[in-house]
């Protein structure tokens, strides 16, 4: 909610005052998520950065009218997606590319977890499980978990129903959990070694 208001504020400043600082702040705020999202589709960090840049160039070009955009964050994800699909269409000389047909790349490099000990083995298994997910399911999992997007936002970005997002996320969470046979026991054993028993 706080982030939503922050984005609304930046949106207003860009639209009314062509405020470069607000534009910069918005870029830095959304870069990681958009870049990761683009990367899953184009699998090149450089190309992904260019696509995010294209999306922000477009935003600057239409800055005077962006006040009418209801959810700017969703809007930026949508144009980034469209640029990524265009990129694929140009590359493959295809008329239209659907997200479903794309072989997406899962980005799952975890930071060292705080408070809880998760071994590299477990992280490897989580990554494996995510890689096994169908492309759409993987992207949904990433957008909800990493970018903190609401179900209805993800639905708007991917052109799906909220119900589909709900169900796909449940499947993703189930698969991740299943990939960890007795993982919680492993975890607690691991912790036991450090407890002063």
């Amino acid at each position: 909610m706080q982030q939503e208001n922050h984005i609304k504020d930046l949106q207003l400043r860009i639209a009314l005052y062509e405020d470069m600082k607000a534009y910069n702040a918005l870029y830095l705020l959304l870069f990681d998520g958009l870049h990761r999202f683009a990367y899953t589709m184009v699998k090149s960090s450089e190309v992904a950065e260019e696509l995010v840049s294209d999306a922000f160039v477009k935003l600057w070009q239409i800055r005077h009218t962006i006040n009418k955009i209801e959810n700017l964050k969703v809007y930026l994800y949508v144009i980034t997606k469209n640029f990524a699909l265009n990129h694929h269409a140009q590359k493959n000389k295809m008329q239209l590319v659907q997200l479903d047909n794309l072989d997406v790349e899962a980005v799952m490099e975890f930071n060292s977890p705080e408070n809880v000990y998760i071994s590299n083995e477990i992280i490897g298994k989580i990554q494996g499980a995510i890689r096994q997910l169908p492309p759409q399911c993987r992207i949904i999992f990433q957008l909800v978990k990493e970018d903190g997007l609401r179900y209805k936002e993800v639905a708007a970005i991917l052109g799906l129903s909220v119900l589909t997002v709900r169900n796909q996320l449940a499947i993703a969470v189930k698969k991740v959990t299943e990939a960890l046979p007795s993982q919680y026991k492993t975890l607690f054993q691991f912790q036991d070694r450090f407890s002063p028993s």
């Binding site: 870049h35 922000f56 070009q61 265009n86 490099e109 993982q183």
Partner: protein, 357 residues
Amino acid sequence: MPVDHQIWLLVSLKLSGEATREELAQLELLMAQDPALKDELQVLTSIWKTRQAGLGINKEDAWLRHLNRLHSPATAPEVQVHPKRIKPWYWMTAAAVVFICFAGIKYFSNGKGYTFGKQTSHVYNTQPGQRMKLQLPDGTSVWLNVGSKLTYSGNFKGDKREVQLSGEAFFDVAPDKDRPFVIHTSTIDLRVLGTAFNIRSYEEEKETEAALVRGAVEVTLRNDPGKKIILKPKEKILVNSCRNDSAIYTLTGPKSTEESPLIVLSKIRYWGRDSSNNLESAWVKNKLMFDKENLENIAAKIERWYNVQVIITDNHLNDATYTGLFENEKLEEVLEALRLTGGFHYSIKGNTVTINR
């Protein structure tokens, strides 16, 4: 709905923070019946809260690269919805180029409109190292080079389209026979009916220069309004803003060594085979160009282009002239190329470049 799926639905709703109060109560109930589920949820919660590392890209660096693309019209995507991109430099073959030089640049905040009398003034300016493309209400496109300022009032609703410029800009003027487009600078005024041209005006430089590729531009001197000069295609004009007398010289031989004339007319110059590549507007294509320029001029260009300060310790170094074209090259590469030609030494400390013998 299978019970199993219902469980995972509730777990994922809880993790994503989308669960309603009823759904949370339902999950509590399930966990009370199955303690293993409670453990699983605990582990899942910690995995969920573990954020991914980024892709190893420095956001601030990415922002700078983005700014470069934003201000470089060659790489910016067209705003049009049409899928085919227009070749951005197609019209350059038929462009007019004008350079002007005068004093007194003041920086206002970026492109902010303010009310002056009853009309709204629009001010756009670029900082050193920063370039910008903008569109005026009549459809005219303007590329603003580093450290420049463009001002206009109202929305061009009167019988004239007038702008004020200090610094350098390339104009692609939307044709309108009834309303001439006028560019005011401190030394000259330019009157155009519909063409494309480039204007440059920096206080550090002594001369004003204008070059035309297509169409016709009428130049009026500020301190001698009776005198009108019509630029023909492929001509450029150089106005020395430091002298008050007026005499027109057509450049046929080398420049006079004693005193530079007030106005010099000459031909614009090209690089490469493509006749659209004129040296005067190379900057629009992201190229840094020196055309038989002395080190003092070059230093001023480098200062704006790279946003650094250049100090020349020995005035004798200004005697030699340099010609060169640099595309996307680093400051060090440009200085190294100059050093090899000029045989001087340089050092870079932070934002300061010192050039000495």
